[in-house]
């Protein structure tokens, strides 16, 4: 009955072959996952390096492609920003595989909740139907929904490096290598294709640098997912880097990852902590907004055409980032044809990981890699579900609690990290995007739903 070590590995193998596991194993898996997820905070602490992924939407074969491009679990540390299910035909296999990996390698994969991880939405957009088809009853759907209620609402990535260690990959054929800044520059953004070839590379704050692919000079700029800059003298998307005249290794702020976006009810990340997240996604309120909102070219807050959540403008993002000492918000939730899109001077990025969405949108997908800051020492992240006494985490202001040792002096409230630098915007972390297309058609059967088995009517 128990789905431990080898059973789990067997389940993973089976799911990797896109074959559902038996209902009793699903139940066991969900049970385990629940006990694990209950230990996670509403905002999970994650250490760089980490690879951040957006919507998957049941496109199992493309998820496999994602793992091929980004590296396998547990070799790569992953963070998935929700919307695992619905739309695609393999929601069940995709979600269960991710959940298996979570249970098997809890520290190497983080799952947070998307707006589709909800009873109401899944009944409409396919996951409910799929479970019913594949198991003949909705039990599995119930188990999965129960797990949805336990998923964290966001994640906070700390310890990301401000600049990338350049990849030694070849340069994509279409690119003139002269345009690529030297590897010894302070590289802020790099975009690779699925073969690991360099498509663009941007150095931080160097006027002499020119963006790769003659991006800034040509009309390609309009279609670039990097926020266009007014001229080609500055690095694209790094309007806020004037402070980077110091050490290139200056510590970057944290990166907040949520599925949707910000909420007018949440001005500090600590507020998220006070939510009781174990519930169906509500129709309004902070929890709803985090999963439903979208950034938009507006001032302040606006009504969302989705009917839930809000639209929020650059001012909101900048203010929030400043207040919480963030250098970047990573989110998913919106289809972007190029796979990723930075907005508002690179203070927020949308990452989309479902290529050829719905099997016909023709978009490419992307994942975002954040490197590890070598000088990570000194920053101790908030304890996240660590077992056994939890020596790390927030400072307890008193002399009781298990934290009353030297460690706690290094801990700090998230909201007040590095108070001395609050006056200026943070350098964004170095960002490496890997862009990939839908898995080759031949690698799989025709995607289809499972037919009704028997029929009486």
């Amino acid at each position: 009955m128990s789905i431990g070590g080898s059973d789990l590995d067997r389940a993973i193998t089976q799911l990797r072959a896109c074959k559902p596991i038996p209902e009793n194993q699903v139940r066991e898996l969900c049970y385990k996952a629940r006990e694990l997820l209950i230990e996670e905070g509403n905002v999970v602490g994650v250490d760089a390096p980490v690879t951040i992924c957006g919507d998957i939407h049941g496109q199992f074969h493309d998820l496999m492609e994602l793992f091929r491009v980004g590296g396998d679990v547990p070799d790569t540390n992953y963070l998935f920003m929700g919307d695992f299910v619905d739309r695609g035909f393999y929601s069940l296999e995709s979600f269960l595989l991710l959940l298996c990996l979570k249970v098997r390698y809890p520290d190497r994969i983080t799952l947070i909740r998307g707006n589709h991880e909800s009873r109401q939405i899944t009944t409409v957009y396919g996951f409910y139907d799929e479970c019913l088809r594949k198991y003949g009853s909705v039990n599995v759907w119930r188990y999965c929904c129960e797990v949805f209620d336990f998923l964290a609402l966001g994640a906070l990535v700390t310890g990301a490096a401000t600049s990338l260690t350049p990849t030694d990959g070849p340069i994509a054929e279409s690119i003139q290598s002269m345009d690529i800044p030297d590897a010894d520059c302070d590289i802020e953004i790099e975009t690779l294709n699925a073969q690991g070839e360099i498509m663009y590379r941007y150095a931080r704050n160097s006027d002499s640098q020119s963006s790769a692919a003659s991006q800034a000079n040509s009309n390609a700029a309009s279609s670039s997912p990097i926020a266009p800059t007014p001229s080609n003298t500055g690095p694209a998307g790094t309007g806020a880097t004037s402070s980077a005249n110091g050490s290139s290794k200056s510590e970057t702020g944290a990166v907040l990852c949520v599925h949707g976006g910000l909420s007018p009810l949440i001005d500090t990340i600590d507020k998220i902590r006070l939510l009781d997240r174990k519930q169906e996604v509500p129709h309004e309120g902070a929890m709803c907004d985090l999963l439903w909102s979208d950034p938009d070219e507006i001032d302040g807050w606006g009504l969302s055409p989705r009917g839930a959540g809000f639209l929020f403008g650059a001012d909101i993002v900048k203010c929030f980032n400043h207040k919480n000492d963030l250098s970047l918000i990573a989110r998913a939730h919106q289809l972007v044809m190029e796979g990723f899109k930075e907005m508002f001077e690179s203070t927020i990025v949308t990452v989309w990981s479902a290529p050829n969405y719905c099997y016909r949108c023709g978009n490419v997908a992307a994942i975002l890699e954040l490197g590890e800051d070598g000088s990570n020492a000194g920053f101790v992240r908030r304890g996240n579900g660590e077992r056994g006494g939890g020596g790390r985490g927030w400072v307890l202001g008193s002399n009781d609690g298990p934290n009353a040792n030297g460690m706690s002096n290094e801990n700090r409230r998230l909201s007040s990290v590095l108070g001395d630098s609050m006056g200026r915007p943070r350098d964004g972390p170095g960002r490496r995007y890997r862009v990939f297309e839908a898995a080759p058609q031949d690698s799989r059967g025709m995607p289809a739903k499972k037919p009704v088995a028997d029929y009486f009517l």
């Binding site: 139940r27 003949g136 009853s137 119930r142 174990k278 985490g393 028997d454 029929y455």
Partner: protein, 845 residues
């Protein structure tokens, strides 16, 4: 071939337009008529100025896309590529020409067919004319179709052509030929052609392709998707497997039987064959076709008396096999699933017929079977039935109770307690909830399962319960509830929870969840039940369990209880020392950021925000030290502040207490900052004040106290609260509230030997006015914020709003209150008796 007479030649006034350089150029106004001439049908427009001048003369071609727009516009493309339009003065004129065009077109098509003209002799005139297909011209056909496919007119014409020429049966044999030749390219072309034909989104074509004669050929062609060149599907094999159709009771009506097969094939097309490529319009056409078929099928069956008798007879006939019975359950399940989309009236009719044939017995039969899948199906049927009409199901249960037979609810409860399949168990818990929900009818059980039940509970709370439901619920608490919650009760005395199995844990989780639902829905009955059975303490025990999920469920139960703002419940929580395990969970999880911890924080945050005084008082007094140690959030510091605010200002204490059900201060007031640390001092003041109060000086009676009191206040700044003049009304609340409850307040304060009871001192209340006023303001905000919670606190403030309106009256009133101690105030007002009133306070309820 006889030509019919041309349509009425009444002259229709019309403007002729030609599209030139993207602008509609007016070629003039004239009169329009359709004529049939030697070389074919024509539309002629003669100028109204000069009848001899023809503004337009165009031949109607077989397949050109003519379009009628609005009521008065016909648009088409000439064979030379010019876009033309006729704008009619009258809709009738337009309609008659339109009819003429259609008639002529269809006649031309028939003509072409009869003559075997389909061979491409006239392709210039009718670009959609397709050659008779063979393996050699598939490429050509595909190109033709692709071209036609690009315009709406072309699509329409193509669809007409394909049907009229029975083109699909001509394509089908080619699949096998190509297969024999192993010609992948031809197979791929055939697949593309077939896809294109289906995606023309023509209802007639879609209905045609699933008919017995062609369906296998069609899906056969679709097995070779050019997008997956190395892959071949096996649709034919799947669809030709007749064993998939199960006929529990023979369906005599052949039309209905055919529809059943068609429907199945349509679903297969939608889910499997076309799943990846379906565009939205075709998807919805498929869906509506399926829907209408299903409606027809169910309508036919439910009205078929002999059929129903045979179907339900399966469950009573002694010679029937259990296999057949299971199939019958599954059959009924499918009916009820389909019925969900029927119109309410037909659905009601179906259930009526089913029930009169014995549906309820079938459900009882099914949910007792050993086969899980059948239990699930049985619960599914019940769920659908409850969704349809919970009142009706309840009335059957009620009838059973009155007849002295075992009601469905009892069966459900018994089965629920022993059910091992967690899915069935969940469904049973849901069913019990809905059957016992006094307001459930509008909101369905399905919705309960799929949406936030808290939200629903709120929505439903607005409807008054039915009288029948009331006695139903009463009956439940008299008998069945004990059975249901027995496992919880049996927890008493259980020492260790380390050996709890998953099954057990799940049972408790559901029970607590159901209990949670009941306390929200059946206010006083559930309250009494929980008190008399001592369930609060049992739920609290669950927090010792190492299974975190169960801890969480228990925590959420207490959070729901606190959310009720019910004094009895709150006092129970204190009496049973429920906060001990909650504090333990808090401290166990505290340095870490996790779900349990967040839920604890949210609970304390709620107590603080709503200022539930009895709890604030209890918590701070018992856990002050611990609270002071928790600094990583300010919730606990603020709780202490709340408490201190309640106590510092000497006389405020009094009013606070008599007034307790209402919220007070916001956190972090300067006042509390000042005095926050001086705990002992605050106590003394408080005691003094109370004593002074009960010594009952009548002086206060006629005092115009504001100035004096304020003068004595140690915290002057607050007096000048900006809103001072605006909120007289709010002061009324203060004024009247004491009168309601002084009795209990004062008496218990005097008699109880709590550590904080009065000692002595005669000081005038230092800053009560400002304090109160301040409090009132905050409270108003919070009232608005929590408008949905209809706790006693609202009643308190509402009831008092009608009374007097000034500071003076407030002051004057107090003594009166003191002298009318004997009048027992409304129960709700005794809410936050001082300190540890515990069980005793409950007597006033």
């Amino acid at each position: 071939m006889a030509l019919v007479a041309p349509p009425s030649n009444d002259r229709k006034r019309v403007k002729v337009y030609e599209l030139k350089n993207n602008d509609w150029f007016d070629r003039g106004t004239g009169f329009c008529r359709g004529v049939i001439a030697q070389e074919g049908a024509k539309i002629l427009v003669a100028s109204e100025d000069d009848p001899n001048r023809q503004l337009l003369e165009t031949r109607i071609s077989k397949d050109d896309g003519y379009q009628k727009q609005q009521d008065t516009l016909i648009v088409w493309t000439e064979q030379n590529g010019t876009d033309m339009a006729l704008s009619f003065q009258e809709p009738e004129g337009c309609a008659s020409i339109w009819d003429f065009v259609n008639e002529m077109q269809s006649r031309l098509q028939r003509l072409a067919h009869d003559d075997g003209l389909s061979d491409d002799i006239d392709s210039a005139a009718s670009p959609i004319m397709l050659p008779n297909p063979d393996l050699g011209n598939l490429h050509e056909i595909e190109n033709h179709m692709r071209a036609a496919n690009s315009t709406p007119g072309g699509r329409e014409a193509l669809a007409k052509f394909v049907l009229a020429h029975e083109y699909i049966p001509k394509l089908i044999p080619l699949v096998e030929m190509a297969e024999d030749l192993e010609s992948a390219s031809d197979l791929h072309r055939l697949c593309s052609i077939m896809k294109m034909l289906i995606l023309l989104n023509d209802t007639a074509i879609i209905e045609y392709v699933v008919t017995d004669d062609v369906v296998l050929g069609v899906v056969g062609a679709l097995e070779y998707d050019p997008d997956f060149p190395l892959h071949k599907a096996n649709h034919r094999q799947y669809l030709s497997d007749e064993s998939k159709f199960k006929e529990v009771v023979k369906i005599e009506d052949t039309a209905t039987k055919k529809k059943i097969h068609f429907t199945y094939r349509l679903q297969y097309l939608k889910d499997v064959v076309l799943a990846r490529i379906l565009d939205d319009p075709t998807f919805s056409v498929l869906n509506s076709l399926i829907f209408f078929h299903q409606v027809d099928i169910v309508q036919h069956l439910q009205a078929n008396g002999p059929f129903l008798r045979e179907l339900f007879g399966i469950f009573t006939g002694p010679e029937e096999t259990s296999e057949r019975r299971k199939d019958a359950v599954l059959f009924i399940q499918q009916c009820t699933q389909i019925a969900k989309s029927l119109q309410a009236q037909s659905r009601a009719q179906m259930y009526q017929n089913f029930i009169s044939n014995g549906l309820l017995d079938v459900i009882q039969y099914a949910i007792k079977l050993a086969d899980v899948s059948i239990r699930l199906a049985g619960m599914d049927v019940l769920q659908a039935l409850i969704d349809h009409d919970a009142l009706m199901v309840r009335s059957y249960v009620f009838k059973a109770i009155q007849d002295g037979s075992k009601p469905l609810t009892d069966t459900l409860i018994e089965l629920f307690l022993i059910e091992v399949d967690l899915g069935v168990k969940a469904q049973m818990a849901d069913a019990i909830k809905v059957l016992l929900d006094p307001n459930a009818n509008s909101a369905s059980m399905e919705a309960l399962g799929r949406t936030n039940s808290d939200f629903l509970a709120k929505v439903r709370g607005q409807h008054p319960p039915m009288p029948q439901t009331d006695s139903f619920v009463q009956k439940f608490y008299d008998d069945s509830a004990r059975k249901l919650f027995q496992p919880l009760k049996d927890l008493e005395g259980r020492e260790s929870f380390n050996d709890m199995s998953v099954q057990e844990a799940t049972l408790y989780a559901y029970l607590v969840d159901v209990l949670c639902f009941f306390i929200k829905q059946h206010s006083f009955r559930s309250k009494y039940f929980i008190l008399s059975e001592g369930l609060a303490a049992r739920v609290a025990q669950l927090m010792q369990c190492p299974i975190k999920y169960l801890k969480l469920t228990a925590l959420k139960y207490f959070r729901a209880v606190i959310g009720l703002h019910d004094e009895t419940h709150n006092r129970q929580l204190i009496m049973h020392q429920v906060f001990e395990p909650i504090m333990k969970v808090l401290f166990d999880t505290m340095p870490r950021d996790n779900l349990l911890n967040s839920v604890c924080l949210e609970m304390f945050e709620f107590i603080k925000r709503e200022n539930i005084k009895i709890l604030v008082q209890y918590l701070v007094e018992t856990h002050r030290e611990k609270f002071q140690g928790i600094t990583y959030v300010d919730t606990f510091q603020n709780l202490i502040l709340r408490y201190d605010q309640m106590h510092e200002p000497v006389t405020t204490q009094e009013l606070d207490q008599s007034f307790t059900s209402v919220d007070s201060d916001t956190p972090g007031r300067p006042l509390s900052m000042v005095n926050g640390g001086k705990w002992g001092q605050g106590l003394k003041e408080l005691d003094a004040d109370e004593e002074a109060y009960f010594n009952g000086s009548d002086d206060e009676d006629d005092l115009a106290p504001a100035a004096k009191i304020n003068g004595a206040s140690p915290v002057k700044p607050l007096v000048n609260y900006p809103d001072d003049d605006v909120d007289d009304d709010e002061m009324d609340i203060l004024a009247s509230a004491p009168s309601d409850s002084t009795h209990s307040t004062s008496s218990s304060a005097q008699t109880q030997g709590s550590p904080n009871t009065p000692k002595s001192s005669d000081e005038t209340p230092p800053e009560r006015i400002s304090e109160k006023r301040r409090r009132e303001d905050d409270e108003e905000d919070e009232l608005l914020a929590s408008i949905s919670s209809s706790g006693p606190k609202r009643r308190a403030s509402l009831s008092s709003n009608s009374s007097v309106g000034s500071l003076k009256s407030l002051r004057r009133k107090t003594p009166t209150i003191a002298s009318t101690k004997e009048n027992a105030g409304p129960k709700k007002m005794s809410l936050s008796l001082p300190l540890k009133s515990g069980g005793e306070g409950g007597n006033t309820e």
